[in-house]
Amino acid sequence: MMPLYAVLLLAVGTYAYRVAGPLLGRRLALSERLRHLLAVAAAVLLVALVATGALTQGHGFAGWARPVGVLVAGVLAWRRAPFPAVVVAGAAATALLRLCGVG
């Protein structure tokens, strides 16, 4: 579960990132190397969340219905379908597979 202290920790840490630039901007500059790494780190985490969220449940495989739904959503997003269509199609594909008895 998500206790209040966790919400506050995340909020305070995130605010520290935000406020550092406006407070220290004149005295400090970030290297390009660090900027690049931070940008890539964000993408790496998001893709890892997609992969584990789509494929795993607890410590095992999530079954076929969910990853197939996510794949459908991914193809639509890649073809630049509107955001609501992407999400609804992904969920609908998964729901349909389950209705047909696919786990």
Binding site: M2, L10, A11, A20, P22, P82
Partner: protein, 256 residues
């Protein structure tokens, strides 16, 4: 600060773009609220996260870790690594946030991928300032309202697996991250990380696999030749807008 004079400062096209981005983010926010509550979190969690953290990707990430059985600290760590990208944005828009101390502190909370991208697009200092504040305030209001509505709606959904809501969470994240994967090195790093995360899932506590994905950073390479030229450059000339701008463009296209 006068809101009406801020609005007059910006061109119509910019205001329209900001409105489109707000609309797209409203849909993301509503999905966040609905997925969190239907996944079993109490109503206050998505709402508190949205007001206090106000960074969509990390909100989804933290809730995702927790809903998959991970610990609260793993959720916080994932969110904090994800939000580290706000650090360079803060330096890039530092000039926008000059003024009384309370304005600087308040404005910092409004710093997002979107508000930074809109501010950096503007040339004139007054327009940069206007773009940042208008986008920041509008997003804050729209995002939080959408999360509340989504969370209330999420409480009404009975069997979430039957309607495929568990697929909606990775689907949302995939739609958000796809534009940044246009860069080859980012793509390689992300793929390596994802394979590592899935591979260790059976063996390590929940929440940890996503953090272990950061081994993918070994494949991140160096910034491109043009970017690395001025490693000691001043924050004014810094241009970290490349990926934020891509995100905004993607979001806008998503609405159409």
């Amino acid at each position: 600060m006068d809101m009406r004079s801020l609005l007059r400062t910006l061109e119509h096209a910019t205001l329209r773009d900001i409105a489109l981005v707000c609309l797209a983010d409203a849909l993301v926010g509503a999905s966040f609220g609905a997925i969190s509550v239907s996944g079993g979190l109490p109503l206050w969690v998505p709402i508190a996260l949205s007001v206090l953290v106000f960074a969509g990707g990390s909100q989804f990430a933290a809730v995702g870790v927790v809903l998959s059985g991970g610990g609260a600290l793993a959720a916080v760590a994932t969110g904090l690594v994800l939000n580290a990208r706000l650090l360079p944005f803060g330096f890039a828009v530092a000039d926008v946030l000059q003024g009384p101390w309370w304005q600087r502190l308040l404005g910092a909370q409004l710093l997002t991928d979107e508000s930074a991208a809109f501010a950096i697009q503007q040339r004139d200092p007054r327009q940069r300032r206007a773009a940042f504040w208008i986008c920041g305030i509008a997003l804050f209001v729209v995002w939080n309202a959408a999360v509340v509505l989504g969370a209330l709606a999420g409480g009404l959904i009975g069997n979430t697996d039957a309607v495929g809501l568990d697929a909606a969470f990775p689907a949302v994240l995939l739609a958000l991250v796809l534009p940044s994967l246009a860069d080859r090195r980012t793509r390689t790093a992300a793929l390596v990380g994802a394979v590592a995360a899935v591979a260790v899932t059976p063996f390590v506590p929940a929440g940890l696999p996503v953090l272990l994905a950061l081994v993918g950073l070994l494949f991140a390479g160096r910034p491109e030749a043009g970017e690395s030229a001025g490693s000691a450059e001043s924050p004014e000339s810094a241009e970290p807008a490349e990926f934020a701008a891509v995100d905004v463009v993607a979001v806008k296209e998503g609405v159409r």
